[in-house]
């Protein structure tokens, strides 16, 4: 046993962890528990027959049905739509974040002709109401052959996601002192190498949150996705409108679809969780 080891065994004093007020943890989980009640309600709705949902107030269902889930997994319309949405949301996230990073860096570090106007113009695209674009998009995407293709939706969603990505990333990039860039330049790093090896890890909170938001906004977007698709690339949000028919709404099926649509989002946040939580790390250059 080395000297260090014997010393440790004898008098190891665990590192003092600064604990925030103990009750804040409890309050948080209490808030979360309450916040999740509507979600629990949704899950319950997904296993109750439609008639029951409208008929009686029950917390514990008296009758169960898994028809919703059966339909969802077995009917091609549903799982295909699910995959379609997954595809274009993921593609869109990758495109948006990749394009936005260099632009955000430029906006943060450089001033150039028209930069402020350009930045604001970008923002206006995020703020634009989708309804304005429906008809023109319909014509345009048809014309360029991107109608009813997941790639088309992925591109169309860049309308609002790229500006958002640039905006959020610019904020996080501006939080890193410029001297970091300068020190790296002096140390002989080329811009791409510096960016990938040193800079990106520093802004990982921002990247994590941006990626999640892009995925999320694309995933829940209904109007545009429905407008420029018909059968092949139909998104899950459009499939859900099928639950409303002349016979009334199939609440069970709608709720099931709702529950299933939560899963990819959970995966998305799970995927980026470490990025968001770890946050700042000043690399010792």
């Amino acid at each position: 046993m080395s000297k260090s080891e014997s010393l440790i065994k004898g008098s190891f004093s665990p590192q003092k962890k600064k604990r925030s007020l103990p009750w804040s943890g409890l309050v948080f989980w209490l808030v979360i528990a309450i916040w999740m009640v509507p979600v629990a309600w949704l899950i319950l709705m997904s296993v109750r027959p439609s008639a029951d949902i409208l008929g009686a107030f029950e917390i514990i269902p008296s009758r169960f049905t898994f028809d919703g889930y059966r339909d969802f997994f077995l009917k091609e319309m549903w799982y295909k739509a699910y995959l379609n949405s997954l595809t274009y949301s993921t593609l869109n996230t990758i495109f948006s974040v990749t394009l936005a990073l260099p632009a955000a860096y430029a906006f943060s570090r450089f001033s150039f002709a028209g930069d402020k106007h350009l930045f604001f113009w970008l923002l206006t695209n995020r703020m634009a109401p989708a309804a304005v674009f429906l008809l023109p998009f319909y014509n345009m995407y048809n014309a360029v052959g991107l109608f009813d293709k997941t790639l088309g939706v992925a591109v169309a969603h860049m309308l609002f996601n790229v500006p958002l990505a640039v905006w959020i990333l610019e904020g996080f990039i501006s939080g890193i002192p410029r001297q970091v860039d300068e020190t790296a330049a002096i140390d002989g790093y080329s811009l791409p190498r510096f960016f990938i090896m040193i800079f990106l890890p520093m802004i990982r909170s921002g990247i994590g949150v941006t990626a999640f938001f892009c995925f999320m906004f694309s995933w829940v977007e209904l109007l545009i996705a429905r407008t420029i698709t018909s059968t092949d690339a139909k998104p899950i949000s459009a499939a859900m409108t099928r639950t409303v028919s002349s016979a009334g709404t199939d609440w069970t099926l709608l709720s099931t679809a709702g529950v299933m649509t939560i899963i990819p989002g959970v995966l998305a946040i799970w995927f980026v969780r470490k990025y968001i939580a770890k946050g700042f790390a000043l690399g010792r250059v």
Partner: protein, 291 residues
């Protein structure tokens, strides 16, 4: 301090091209429709500013916009402080942080129509848990009482979107170098002083994003009020988007609809601009440095 470098345009070019493709071209088409009166595809009349005049004087439209504005302000006043508060008490690391992130994100990833349907049933006093419980406290019926309808939609918006504020603030907080907290501890700062002098200043950028994003999105709210209250009771929850869609769909008047959406679009841009200018005022002041 930014360096002047016009070569930065190359970094920004891909973004411009993509967004221009997705935005400018469609807009030009809409503008075209808007200033024509479409009787039939073969019979178009150049009508010009008539539509725009009509819109700005229509009392229905004006009140809808006022409603949207009030709604957004109220939503903001709740969501921003609440979002910050939750972000501050969220676990910072370990499995608890991961679980917390997942839980907080769930409301964001549910499609809007599902949120609408869920809350629709949930808030009914006869078949929903929420409605049932609320009626134990007071008389709650969103189908008949305008205040209840408004309150419900407000609650849905808060429930749905506060997590966005929380996530942004949480990420922002995690990006603060520990040295600031350490220095504040050395300086003997109280927890409130730490929040006021370390956290809030560092969260400014992120809060700006949250503020503008949430205000505009709440202003343009559509699906949830459509599904839950249909714009009612009466016109209590007939917000700008709902009214405009009703007009466009109901009357199938492409020219008028185009005009209205363009107006809506312009108003949104102006509001964004005002908001943005005011909120970034301080940034512009800090550009100069001593030599």
């Amino acid at each position: 301090m930014k360096t002047r470098n016009n070569k930065a345009w190359f970094l920004v070019l891909p973004v411009i091209l993509v967004v221009a493709f997705t935005a400018l071209l469609p807009l030009m088409t809409v503008a075209n429709y808007a200033i024509q009166d479409i009787f039939s595809p073969d019979n178009r009349l150049f009508v010009g500013m008539k539509w725009f005049y009509d819109i700005t004087n229509d009392p229905l439209i004006i009140s809808a916009f006022q409603r949207s504005f009030q709604f957004s302000i109220q939503a903001l006043l709740i969501q921003i402080p609440l979002g910050i508060a939750i972000a501050r008490i969220m676990p910072k690391s370990g499995w608890k942080a991961s679980a917390a992130l997942v839980a907080v994100s769930i409301p964001l990833i549910i499609p809007f129509n599902v949120i609408g349907s869920t809350w629709l049933i949930f808030s009914r006093k006869d078949i929903g848990l929420g409605g049932y419980l609320l009626n134990k406290l007071f008389d709650f019926d969103f189908t008949s009482d305008p205040k209840d309808g408004w309150g419900l939609i407000l609650a849905v918006d808060v429930w749905h979107w506060t997590p966005l504020v929380t996530l942004l603030v949480y990420a922002g907080l995690r990006s603060i170098p520990p040295a600031y907290y350490q220095a504040a501890a050395i300086d003997g700062a109280s927890p409130f002083a730490v929040f006021r002098y370390v956290e809030l200043p560092k969260l400014r950028r992120v809060l700006l994003i949250a503020l503008l994003l949430r205000f505009m999105d709440s202003f343009m709210i559509y699906t949830e009020p459509f599904v839950i209250t249909g714009g009612g009771p009466g016109d209590a929850t007939t917000f700008a988007s709902i009214l405009l869609t009703n007009i466009a769909v109901g009357q199938f008047d492409v020219g008028r609809a185009g005009a209205y959406s363009l107006i809506f679009f312009i108003i949104i841009q102006i509001m964004s601009f005002l908001f943005y200018t005011v909120l970034t005022l301080q940034d512009r002041e800090e550009v100069t440095k001593t030599k």
